[in-house]
């Protein structure tokens, strides 16, 4: 059993946390960067007293559960993971316990926070709230375990299920759209989760701006954080280039045209944010300011994309760059530096890297 557990931890748990490093970094950055421990205690104390609002937390946990399930299902579908079906040979009870263990490891972030919420509720003698949190966590854990166990041992068709995705397949398919199609077809939960998180950050910044009313920097900060959330796509784009788009490297395409194509890809990916941004602010703020601000996430994403053309950039280094770039730019924007200069700088850097390394390709 120990050997099976070790392999599953490597194939599912470690890969999940590796694939979602960016997501966790952003969540930790937002959750523990802006809110201090005392504020977390205040928040959970409020929830313990008003357990109805646990529904909000439960929705977030449900989204997280969907994220873990989507990852496991995606892993199971890959042809090189067909061996997972051999788990059917294990004793059913042992298998269930093993999957429970794996699922609990995937659930660590919500179990940890759930434990914290339970402790606060007990401290405040809010036993109903404590039971609700524990029950919510357990239902999600056991429900997800059941689904994962059943998925792992079932045969799976690795081929594309065209019928299911008919609508998205009707969208045009020029090169800049290929990655978007890939996300729609194969990484829809990642797309949905990232867009939800990014829009929450952006809408939050717009609300704060509308309450405060004058400080335009708040909007740029929202766009900056939104770009950080979307940076996860750059890593997936890089992986996609290394697999299904690899043969495109044999095509005689001019560097400048490729650069424009990648820029367009990110423009398409950022359309929801840009629509929310312009839709909410178009009547109140000058179009020139909005246009200048909208360039910031686009040029940042293009820069993050180009980072992968540099030697020695792996996921870990990439996350560090995104984290530090976001942290530094946060203060640069607060320091009232014109956002167009920042965008211009990152556009130039991206173009320079792409011209130097774009045709070199990477392994």
């Amino acid at each position: 059993m120990k050997a099976v557990r070790k392999v599953l931890v490597r194939a599912l748990v470690k890969e999940f946390y590796k694939a979602n490093t960016g997501f966790f970094l952003v969540v930790l950055g937002l959750g523990f960067g802006f809110l201090k421990t005392a504020q977390h205690v205040d928040l959970t104390s409020f929830l313990a007293v008003k357990p109805f609002y646990y529904l909000v937390v439960l929705v977030l946990w449900l989204l997280y559960t969907a994220k873990t399930l989507s990852f496991v299902f995606m892993v199971k579908r890959l042809p090189n993971n067909s061996w997972l079906s051999y788990l059917v040979l294990l004793n059913p009870l042992k298998r269930l316990l093993l999957v429970l263990h794996i699922q609990a490891l995937l659930f660590l972030p919500i179990l940890g926070y759930g434990f914290f919420m339970t402790a606060i509720a007990i401290q405040l003698n809010q036993w109903t709230s404590a039971v609700l949190v524990i029950a919510g966590n357990l239902i999600l854990l056991f429900g997800a375990t059941n689904m994962v166990e059943s998925k792992l041992i079932s045969p799976v068709d690795t081929k594309l299920q065209i019928g299911f995705k008919n609508f998205t397949n009707r969208l045009p398919k020029p090169f800049p759209m290929l990655f978007v199609h890939h996300l729609l077809n194969r990484q829809s939960i990642l797309l949905l989760g990232t867009k939800t998180a990014s829009l929450i950050v952006l809408v939050g910044s717009i609300w704060i701006f509308e309450m405060e009313g004058t400080d335009l920097r708040l909007l740029n900060l929202g766009l900056l954080l939104s770009a950080a959330v979307n940076a996860a796509f750059c890593f997936h784009y890089h992986q996609y280039q290394q697999s299904e788009l690899l043969i495109y490297r044999n095509l005689p395409i001019a560097n400048n045209l490729q650069f424009v194509w990648y820029g367009l890809s990110y423009l398409i990916l950022m359309l929801p944010e840009l629509m929310v941004f312009f839709g909410n602010l178009g009547l109140d703020i000058s179009t020139l300011f909005l246009l200048k601000s909208a360039l910031l996430p686009l040029t940042l994403l293009l820069f993050y994309h180009c980072l992968f053309y540099l030697k020695g950039i792996d996921m870990e280094n990439f996350i560090k760059v995104v984290f530090f770039a976001t942290a530094i730019l946060f203060f640069v924007i607060l320091g009232r530096i014109e956002v167009i200069f920042i965008s211009g700088l990152f556009l130039l850097l991206s173009y320079f890297i792409f011209q130097k390394r774009g045709q070199e390709s990477t392994d």
Partner: protein
């Protein structure tokens, strides 16, 4: 002629291939080698898919300095091709035909020759490995290449398709196209009649004849 000069390929710090100097003259070149010997790695570099150290050139055209011109003249079919699964074979063929500047009617002729036209409207994600391989070979013949690199062109193909591909190679060679192809199994050279054979061994490419 296709030349390598001071060519080196490493993954992280592990040297995979080292070819100080080698020139492939016009003709059909058969590269043999065991699994993992570095055949596909060499082909990926020659096709401009993977980075390398040293120089790769087609006559006076250096791959690094003039990638567009080089890639217009050197086509490639991978050993185990992967394509965007929601694109149809026709989508891909049209895209590659345009960029590789294929003459009018060439794509249709090639798809008919290999019977790819039967399924070219379906999404690539629904193809079997043999169907994907045939699509990849059609794409490698598009345009007016001087060289076509075929990595394991016959694997996953049925006997009929193998004979068709062999025939396409021989016919194209008669029109002046040169080929580099690899196999790790022995195959009947009387089909393709490779003029030069090489073996990838001990991180190097050794001519056999």
């Amino acid at each position: 002629m296709l030349s390598l000069h001071n060519f080196q390929k490493s993954f992280v710090k592990q040297l995979i291939l080292e070819i100080p100097k080698l020139t492939f003259e016009r003709g059909i070149h058969w590269i043999k080698g065991r699994n993992g010997s570095g055949k596909s790695t060499l082909f990926n570099c020659l096709a401009g898919l993977s980075p390398y150290q040293g120089e790769i050139s087609l006559g006076e055209i250096d791959l690094r300095k003039s990638p567009q011109v080089y890639k217009l003249k050197v086509n490639y079919s991978q050993s185990e091709p992967l394509f965007p699964e929601f694109l149809s074979g026709n989508d891909l063929i049209k895209f590659f035909a345009k960029l590789k500047k294929a003459p009018t009617g060439q794509a249709e002729l090639l798809t008919q020759q290999l019977s790819v036209d039967v399924y070219a409207d379906q999404a690539c994600g629904t193809y079997s490995s043999g169907m994907t391989k045939k699509l990849s070979i059609v794409m490698a013949f598009l345009g007016e290449p001087e060289w076509i690199i075929l990595d394991e062109p016959l694997i996953t193909l049925d006997v009929e398709a193998q004979q068709l591909v062999s025939k396409m190679i021989v016919e194209s060679q008669a029109k002046g196209v040169s080929f580099l192809f690899s196999t790790h199994q022995d195959f009947d050279n009387s089909l393709i009649k490779a003029s030069h054979t090489y073996k990838v061994e001990n991180r190097s490419l050794i001519p056999e004849s």
